[in-house]
Amino acid sequence: MIRFLGHPRFERLSRYADAELTGKARDRVASHLAGCARCRDTVRFIRELGEVARSLPVPEPPADALPRLLARRAAGVRVILPTSDPVPIENESKRAVPAIAATLVLFMAGALLLSVPRLGADRSRLEFRPLRVNAGTTVQVRYAPGALLASEPTLTLRGRLRFANGNHEITEIGTLTRGADGVFRGAVSLPDSVVYAAFAVEDAAASRIDSNNRRLWELLVHGADGRPLSESLRERANDLFARDSDLAHETARTATQMYPKHPWGWYTLFRFESALAQGAQRDSLVEYHRGRLRELDRHWSAGRPTADDAAFLALYAMVLGEAEVHERWRGYLLQNAPTHKTSIQFRLSDLRQSAGERPLLDDLERMGAETGFWHRELVIAGLFEALRVKDSKSAFKWAERYLAIAPEDLGTIAQALAEAMPPGEELHAWLRGAVSRVATGELPLEREPFQTSEVHRHRLAELEASVRHIIARSCLQTDDIECALEHLEAAAAATWNPAVFDALARVLARSGRTTEATEFLARVAIDPLADSSMTASAVALGRSWSGDDGWARALERAHAALASYVAPHAVYRRLDSNLELLDADGARVSAGAALTAGITVVAFLLPTSAISIEALPELEEGAHLLARKGVRTVAIQLGRPSPETTGRWKEIMPSVDLYSDPQLEVATAFDQWGTPEYFVVDREGVVRYRHSTLRTAIRQATSLAVPAGRHLTAP
């Protein structure tokens, strides 16, 4: 037997202790140990190390962690967590906006703010006269179109109006008519209560929309002193949260300079700045804002604050941990404006303190009767309290109230009902009715100003599919195969969701329809985001039912179905391959070389934005999934990141090719503006898709990674 000349190295003994060695390697170490007390001692030590480590004490979480957590949530603090489970696609498109909006608080103190330029060529212009609009003024609108809408005789001006009380609505504002010079003109009159509006221009069918590359065109209502109103700035910040968080941050900062006595600006600014400040930097930030709070407190204690001012004072004090100031303004608000939205939040919070001790439905009913049932948190509380006490009649009543104010939440409402209530006709009838009302527009789901009618229909279909999936699961609980089949088939026709495909395949197989089932198993198999065990099972079953050739054809059809599914988000923009990027070592490379080596997912990231920083681990995970499909992942840092930042990002994303775009030329070529998005570039250097979520971009890229011998044509 071969023996060690000296002692085995520590690593080898460590691997032996973990039973990682096999065959002769293991035998050689075992043989050595038999005659070497010192190495036996090392193995004993290694094993003991783990045992003792497991017994080490861990301190308890601080007792005040929970109250602080709840206060942070109540103050609107959100964190995007690095999760890994697949996301049901049915909520994907609508989730992107709240997820990003929720992270609006994640900003950096003193960050470099980059404004990505827009394309100069063929850029349309929308102008308003007068430039500074006062409440109720009639505004003359002039629109010089790009190629997209130039041939239309009339166009629709559509947008989101925001009101002084914080409400908003999306509506058609007016019609623009083309003149002999090719310029469109019109006049709009805004309601007196509007303080901010953001517009897009669209054709009659809303199939083509000029949304100024999602930036929209803005109108801020000004006061008699020529300044934008404080409420106009507040609503601008609210409107920009999801579209360009940096601009929203800047707007809050402007508000504190222009209106230093208005608490909302300081509160919002603190939320932006505090999220990324750490350690001593955070301490000094808090100290600075406490100073501002003291000044505001002194000022408003001697005056008569509006309900909004009192509400923001209470919230500002809460996030700064100033309990006495918070309680005082909270009390003031509750006494003087008990139906204000922040008052409702505070009152619900008080009610929750007694949750579990007694039924709260009566209290919630009384509160709703007093305030109206328009506050989202109130109707959610009512729905779940009804489900908790198993009062199905009340649950349907609160579900109706919830649906009336937030039809986009139908999927979530349906899931809550289905999980808490017994399956049966009453539940199914309600769910079917709700789907029908949303689909027919009886409960209007707002179309965003930048969404075409096709994308909106797609979103409606997704919502319907998600509810049908829930109904189908409920049908399966009572073994009603016919019912499950009806709803799963409808869902599968409208969405791309591996869980739906998998369930449908199994139901079809139970009915002996394995040929059809194979089609859906193939869709599971090609989806890079499907659960790995589901994929393995799909491949095994699909092959066994259809044979190798049949399975290969089913996979091709599945690719075609995926391509059709992602089509509404297709774009077509050829890149100038002469544009330059810098690689991670700072060397110049052409965009052509960097981005067209194969199908590529391109992520633009802003080094100073928490949204981008939080996205890095997810991007690394996505790169692994994409690599299996032969797709590259490239991240482009906007601006000039420091070498330290680049090094850190490389460490977090070893599988992602990292470049920077110092002059933002490449970002401009992509038409990347505002909150960074994901793009899919094909082998020819054409941008084929864009989307705000990585998960959708992964599926878009997969749709281009067609099986050998098949080619998709450009739109």
Binding site: F10, E11, S14, R15, R38, D41, T42, F45, I46, E48, L49, G50, E51, V52, A53, R54, S55, L56, V58, P59, P61, P62, A65, L66, R68, L69, L70, R72, R73, A74, V77, V79, I80, L81, P82, T83, S84, D85, P86, V87, N91, A99, A102, R352, A355, I380, A381, F384, L387, D409, T412, A416, E419, D531, P617, E620, R648, I652, M653, P654
Partner: protein, 177 residues
Amino acid sequence: MTDQAGVDLLVQRARLADAGALEALYARFGAVVYRIAYRLTQSQEDAEDVLQDVFAGLPEALRTYQGRGALEDWLKIVATRRSLMVLRQKRRRREVSLDGTTGFQPVERAEPVVDRVALERALAYLPDPLRAVFVLKEIEGYSHEEIGQLMGIGKSGSASKLHRARKILRDRLRNSA
């Protein structure tokens, strides 16, 4: 209602940002999240940051949780990822060299008895990536494959880091013996 059904309902409610549900989930799983965060960061302050962040982001994050595995396991992964992120962001500088050479000659000395207090100190001294692998493998019981995926270092990277962590711990414990 079964315990699992109770958790499922809590998850549903928490997804809708119901504060009561979040509180109940915290009562059940807060200590688990804090424990893993503390072990990974070796800092009560950082562990609380992770705890706060995990639960502050939970209602939104739960929309990605499909309920296939136990919620506790999913939360542990999320807490681990968040802790690793905190560690990366802090980029703590350690004086110890990564190859574990500390000037001692291990071949000349007997292996130390593993003392709990000394081990606790030695763990805090480990470079973050090595401590993370050691904690995840030896204490939390993850496989090298799982750790490789979690940390983006691959299965062999995880195994290699574990052995280096043990060697550094051995040298530190000898020093303190």
